[in-house]
């Protein structure tokens, strides 16, 4: 069995990626899900994972090469497969591959309902709704939404004041409730990052019957501390130079923040109404540099997964100890405030397993 190791597609606009580093030597044994190479895209750097177990027989792309989405990075096969067959596989792939074809199945486009922009991947099953953090948007789930959608519809939305949604400081949990109603989503899995985690938890606490399972990724609401410099810096930064160091606080590795990410956030922040909406949220959620709201999940009977990056510089990972005692808590080493981007593969596996609990149980 010969498996292609291809250039993944992260997010709607990705057309190509540049190989920054190979993490595995030719000839090494790898398991499915192992990180094999690091790739830089216009938006973000990410890890390419092995699609199957075997031996990394060939590194077709070299460090520095720019490979289109779907293009060949390497070849995985059993040690027993003769070299000639590997060569033939590579030759055949290169003869038939047309860059851009993968793009045509570009997938869904964002829609807007009652002023809330959202995107949906996949369909059916028990739907999962992804909730971004303060200042984020639905694109923060570029490594997660599509991979998690093979067995269910996955929705990602923009909170009011964020992304392509109305620029008002509407109460986020009410916006979420209204969104679920508007889409006819009666029972959903919720996964939220940071502020989105707080919102997910608030909905689960107030309407437990509506929430099949809860996943809190570096959530707000489990302790008073938060990096006020991040919140203030994010709101007030008006140039790329001011914004970049603020965004770097989101990641353990500051190199994850590239020009295009800073540009996108800056352009969003310039939109009329955004500044006021963010200030309004700060006032409600983090006045005086402290978290004002505490999650009480004692009335929520469903499964709870808490994922935190050990090196989170925005909300300390120690808050995980305030999660309900029955919660499954995973603290990921070497990861900052954005586990769903920094350790996407691991987070997706944890989520997939967690969502499966409900079905089997």
């Amino acid at each position: 069995m010969i498996e292609k190791l291809g250039m993944p597609k992260w997010g709607l606009s990705m057309t190509e990626g540049r190989v920054i580093e190979w993490l595995v030597d030719e000839g090494a044994e790898i398991a499915a899900g192992d990180e094999v190479a690091e790739v830089e895209t216009e938006k973000i750097n990410g890890m390419v994972e092995a699609p199957a177990a075997g031996v990394l027989r060939r590194r077709v792309a070299s460090v520095g090469d720019v490979i289109p989405v779907g293009g060949l990075l390497g070849v995985i096969a059993d040690a027993a497969v003769p070299d000639a067959e590997i060569d033939a596989f590579v030759a055949e792939f290169e003869a038939s591959f047309v860059p851009g074809e993968a793009e045509e199945e570009a997938g869904p486009a964002p829609e807007v309902a009652d002023g809330i922009r959202f995107i949906r991947f996949g369909e059916g099953g028990e739907p999962l709704v992804l909730l971004h953090g303060f200042g984020g948007d639905l694109n923060n789930w570029l490594f997660n939404a599509e991979p998690l959608s093979s067995e269910r519809a996955v929705y990602a939305l923009d909170f009011p004041g964020h992304g392509g949604s109305v620029k008002e400081a509407r109460e986020p949990v009410e916006a979420l409730r209204a969104f679920l109603d508007s889409q006819g989503l009666e029972r959903v899995h919720l996964a939220g990052h940071s502020m989105g985690g707080l919102v997910a938890g608030e909905l689960a606490a107030s309407q437990p019957e509506r929430v099949l399972s809860l996943t809190l990724i570096a959530p707000a609401g489990l302790g008073p501390e938060i990096d006020a410099e991040y919140i203030d810096g994010f709101i007030e930064a008006s140039s790329r130079k001011q914004l970049k160091p603020v965004l770097q606080k989101l990641f353990a590795d500051p190199d994850q923040v590239n020009r295009s990410m800073v540009d996108d956030v800056l352009k969003y922040k310039r939109l009329d109404g955004v500044q006021d909406a963010l200030r309004g949220l700060r006032e409600r959620l983090f006045p005086d540099g402290r978290q004002a709201r505490t999650l009480d999940l004692s009335g929520y009977p469903g499964p709870v997964l808490v994922i935190w990056g050990e090196r989170d510089g925005i909300i300390p990972a120690s808050h995980a100890s305030a999660a309900p005692s029955r919660a499954h808590v995973e603290v990921l080493p070497g990861v900052g405030h954005s586990p769903h981007m920094e350790a996407a593969g691991e987070v997706n596996r944890l989520l997939e397993r967690h969502l499966g609990l409900v079905r089997s149980g």
Partner: protein, 338 residues
């Protein structure tokens, strides 16, 4: 944020439409901005000589006005309207016509705030097209932004992309000082990603178009694109390309910081070289960052002549990517490729 691709011209039209919708004191006037006075039954057919204001008369018929061919009258009217509560956006068809209305701009509008002890504001915008490249000869092709930059009291904007054009024009309209907004006529058809939502870009914040450690190149308006071509053509020289976007206020800090890193400076300016923007920026950077300079700064400008009408001469007149690349190489001491 809802992005789509539109032209520079559409971006300007959209900023005008959105600001007129947001604020009813925003009024538009100038020659033919409706459709040409007296055009029978064809109101709004043109929307200005190049169609930039097309459609606005239909949306806001009482706030879009055609004027006689009398720049001294309607630019003066704008200054008065601004001082008494409106936010006029006037179109001076070609910047080359500034001569007949300059008193109204620099001696009146530009001095109201200062001479009335800060008690008066003059929120007017003069939109005007500039630049060579369309065979329009000496009286319709000049790049006169240094002249306006010279006068304290005026803000001067020279956008290079559709995104910047919309955001900077929005800021110009909301600004309480007189703003000269210069649109390069070759850029009108340039396409780029622009959010549908209204947004403003602050003045005095340069855009770093590309990052590099070897040479700082400063360019404005159309020259940004030619400088980017030059930068892309150079192997082994990492160019940091800076677009100041506004010449007044000028983001000198960003340029100086860059030169402190690269040690080399090239300024590309479509205006004539004497008392131009290239000379101004080089003088200021040299004073601020002399110790960082590894080579003499270079300016790439047209010659000190009127813009020629001959197509061959006009093409030779405007700074080209080749000339820009040559100047960049000269600062690094690397020879031109054989």
């Amino acid at each position: 944020m809802t992005m789509r691709t539109i032209t520079f011209q559409q971006a300007i039209n959209e900023a005008l439409a959105q600001e007129m919708g947001r604020d009813e004191t925003v009024v538009l006037f100038g020659e033919d901005v409706v459709g040409g006075s007296g055009a029978p039954g064809e109101d709004d057919a043109w929307g200005g000589v190049l169609g930039i204001t097309k459609g606005l008369y239909g949306q806001y018929p009482s706030r879009v006005l055609d004027t006689p061919i009398s720049e001294s009258a309607f630019i003066g009217a704008a200054a008065g309207a601004a001082a008494s509560g409106l936010r006029p956006v006037v179109e001076l068809m070609f910047v080359d016509f500034m001569g007949v209305c300059l008193d109204q701009i620099f001696n009146q509008a530009g001095k109201f705030r200062y001479m009335f002890g800060g008690k008066a504001v003059t929120p007017m915008v003069v939109r005007t097209m500039f630049g060579a490249g369309i065979r329009a000869a000496s009286q319709h092709s000049q790049a006169l932004y240094p002249v306006f930059t010279h006068f304290p009291g005026l803000k001067v904007v020279v956008p290079s992309t559709p995104y910047d054009a919309k955001g900077l024009l929005t800021q110009a309209i909301r600004d309480d000082d007189p703003v000269i907004f210069l649109e390069h006529k070759v850029l009108y058809t340039l396409e780029g990603d622009v959010p549908e939502e209204p947004y403003a870009i602050p003045f005095g914040e340069a855009e770093i178009v590309r990052e590099g450690d070897d040479v700082t190149v400063v360019a404005l308006g159309r020259m940004v694109h030619l400088a980017a071509q030059a930068a892309a053509s150079l192997d082994g020289v990492e160019v940091e390309l800076i677009d100041p976007r506004t010449t007044s206020p000028l983001d000198l800090e960003t340029i100086v910081e860059s030169v402190e890193n690269t040690g080399r400076l090239v300024v590309v300016d479509e205006a004539n070289p004497r008392c131009g923007l290239a000379a101004d920026i080089i003088a200021q950077v040299t004073a601020e960052a002399f110790d960082s300079l590894k080579a003499a700064p270079r300016m790439v400008t047209p010659p000190h002549t009127p813009v020629p009408f001959s197509p061959v001469l006009e093409d030779a007149y405007v700074p080209s990517p080749d000339k820009i690349a040559e100047a960049i190489r000269a600062t690094t001491g690397s020879p031109a490729p054989a």
